[in-house]
């Protein structure tokens, strides 16, 4: 019998705010000393009251808009109670009754064509702390740095049919949220986490099978492995009766390549939600709504179409540039100054992006001022700075955004000289010192000219218009 898999995802994304959702502690806990970003509020002490970080609502709304959701103009917070050492107040403040965004869609590309995945809701909530189990054998160590870091949870409908679609969906979420600059979405950093709700049923059946929820996958690859394992476990159980499937939460062990049922108490899942009396309803008026709407980015595919159409770039170049919103913005700024899209694209792809690779930085980490890059491109295309020196200037402005390319070029002697007398002298000396190359060139070896050209350029420290040098060099040899 053939089976089909029905998957819905719960994706938690840490929002890229500076401070936590309800207190002013730093929200950047990754790699920090334990409990260094903590205050009485986020370690569960009595007396502090939650005050909502406006940027969390901005970002929650923006994420909702990116995912074509309806934005609830009145959105409220609720308390969800359970005991666990990573939850210091023994309740999580989340959105149960009126989440910020509902009823959206995400379009994905699959091998079978385009597909629309329905989004049930996006709600804002606080993250839990971290438990460390490997410091002492008998003890779990508790770190509240991550407690109350703002999250959105994106809940999809069960519209995904397998690992490939899940991957496409997660990649698309990443792109959209990164384009909107609301989140880093880095699974390796834990800023994007995903729980998989999965069931299997005979193809064509409209009755859902037993659903299991899987947690603890730390990469998209792990999610794919977990889905494949879980699907075959379900099919095995259905076909061969290897086990009785029960609705449960399972933990994925990526090293062993297996999922395990998590031990749960009888009262697990009983969260006793109720509205938080300390957090007033948040009303999103037209002004607020419109101000966020105005900041929505152009979608990557729209940008790509504009780059290939209006700008005349190749598909490859447009693909490269649209990988990251930071790269796009730098490119567009550079283009606005230099006026040559192809030039700007070449600089971005062959120089800037490779510099990021060398520095082991992600494209989203690009912090280069595109206007400055544009000025540099103008210096090169105008023949004022040679290409080799321009790369040195790029390296400098990459590290220090305050540098003005032309001033830097002048200060470092990178400005192309139009002193034809100097060029002629250098050419004369170089040619005189290398009679073999001259003879080779005259004998028909084109490469020999390049060798002479290179030596002259080196003597001139690169500050020479290549066309001018070439002409003087050829004229000189021909005149010998």
């Amino acid at each position: 019998m053939k089976y089909e898999t029905v998957i819905g995802l719960e994706v938690h994304v840490e929002l890229a705010t500076k401070s936590k959702i309800f207190c002013s502690c730093s929200a950047h806990s990754f790699g920090a000393e334990p409990n260094s970003h903590v205050c009485p509020a986020c370690c569960g002490m009595p007396g502090m009251l939650p005050v909502v970080n406006k940027r969390v609502v901005d970002y929650g709304m923006k994420a909702g808009m990116m995912l074509n959701c309806h934005i609830n103009r009145t959105t409220t917070f609720d308390k969800k109670s359970y005991y666990y050492p990573d939850l210091p107040a023994a309740y999580q403040t989340t959105q149960w009754f009126a989440p910020v965004a509902v009823n959206g869609t995400v379009e994905i590309e699959t091998s079978g064509g385009k597909k629309s995945v329905r989004i049930k809701q996006i709600h804002m909530e606080e993250d839990a702390g971290k438990l460390v189990h490997d410091i002492r054998e008998d003890t779990t160590h508790v770190d509240f740095n991550r407690t109350s870091v703002p999250l959105i949870e994106i809940v999809s409908q069960p519209d995904l049919s397998g690992a490939e679609e899940v991957e496409a969906y997660l990649e698309r979420l990443k792109t959209l949220l990164r384009y909107a600059k609301v989140a880093e979405c880095e699974m390796a950093h834990g800023t994007m986490r995903c729980d998989v709700n999965l069931s299997v049923r005979p193809e064509g059946s409209n009755v859902l099978g037993v659903r299991t929820e899987m947690k603890n996958m730390n990469s998209i690859e792990a999610i794919k492995r977990a889905i494949e394992y879980e699907v075959s476990r379900h099919i095995d159980a259905i076909e061969n009766g290897t086990e009785v499937l029960v609705q449960e939460t399972r933990r994925w062990d990526d090293i062993k390549g297996k999922s395990y049922a998590m031990r749960t108490k009888e009262t697990a899942g009983d969260y006793r939600y109720f509205p938080d009396p300390n957090v007033m309803p948040i009303v999103i008026d037209d002004e607020w709504f419109d101000s966020i709407k105005a900041t929505l980015p152009e979608l990557p595919e729209v940008k790509k179409a504009r780059y290939t159409g209006e700008y005349g770039l190749s598909d490859y170049d447009a693909d490269q540039l649209t990988k990251s919103i930071a790269v796009c913005e730098c490119f567009e700024d550079a283009y606005s100054v230099c006026g040559n899209a192809k030039d700007a694209a070449n600089w971005m792809i062959s120089e800037v992006m490779s510099l990021l690779n060398v520095k082991k930085m992600t494209y989203d980490m690009l912090d280069l001022n595109g206007i400055t890059l544009g000025e540099l491109i103008v210096l090169v295309s105008g023949g004022k700075v040679g290409r080799a020196n321009a790369k040195k200037i790029l390296a400098a402005i990459f590290d220090d955004p305050s540098i003005v390319p032309e001033e830097y070029a002048k200060a470092n002697g990178f400005i192309v000289s139009n002193d034809t007398g100097l060029i002629a002298t250098v050419v004369k000396e170089t040619v005189a010192a290398d009679p073999k190359s001259v003879a080779d060139f005259k004998g028909g070896k084109e490469k020999a000219l390049m060798a002479l050209f290179g030596k002259c350029m080196k003597q001139l420290k690169g500050n020479c218009d290549p066309q001018v040098l070439r002409k003087i060099l050829i004229d000189h040899i021909n005149g010998l």
Partner: protein, 93 residues
């Protein structure tokens, strides 16, 4: 209140009652439930729930970091700490 309900409530709220206390809780809850009958007489059909008694809306703060407390201060009254962490018995996941 049923005994079984009380057993689950104890578990949910991390409490363990003696037999005598159970009787007390049950009688307390039963009294409350009897009092709730007065609410049935109140028509709330078209009434919106009132979580907040004052009509204040949209209290938000700017996204600004301040970090005035250290782990050491926060852990002064902690039952058990180690290397800047709070400690609990091993939790199995």
């Amino acid at each position: 209140m049923e005994r079984e309900t009380l057993r689950l409530l104890e578990m949910l709220n991390q409490l363990r009652l003696t037999e005598e206390q159970k009787e007390k809780v049950i009688s307390f809850c039963n009294n409350r439930e009897a009092a709730l009958k007065a609410l049935d007489a109140i028509d709330t059909e078209n009434v919106e729930r009132m979580v907040h008694v004052m009509p204040v809306l949209t209290v938000v703060r700017e996204d600004i970091v301040s970090q005035p407390y250290t782990a050491e201060e926060l852990q002064q009254g902690a039952p058990e700490t180690d290397e800047g962490y709070w400690c609990v018995p091993k939790v199995m996941e």
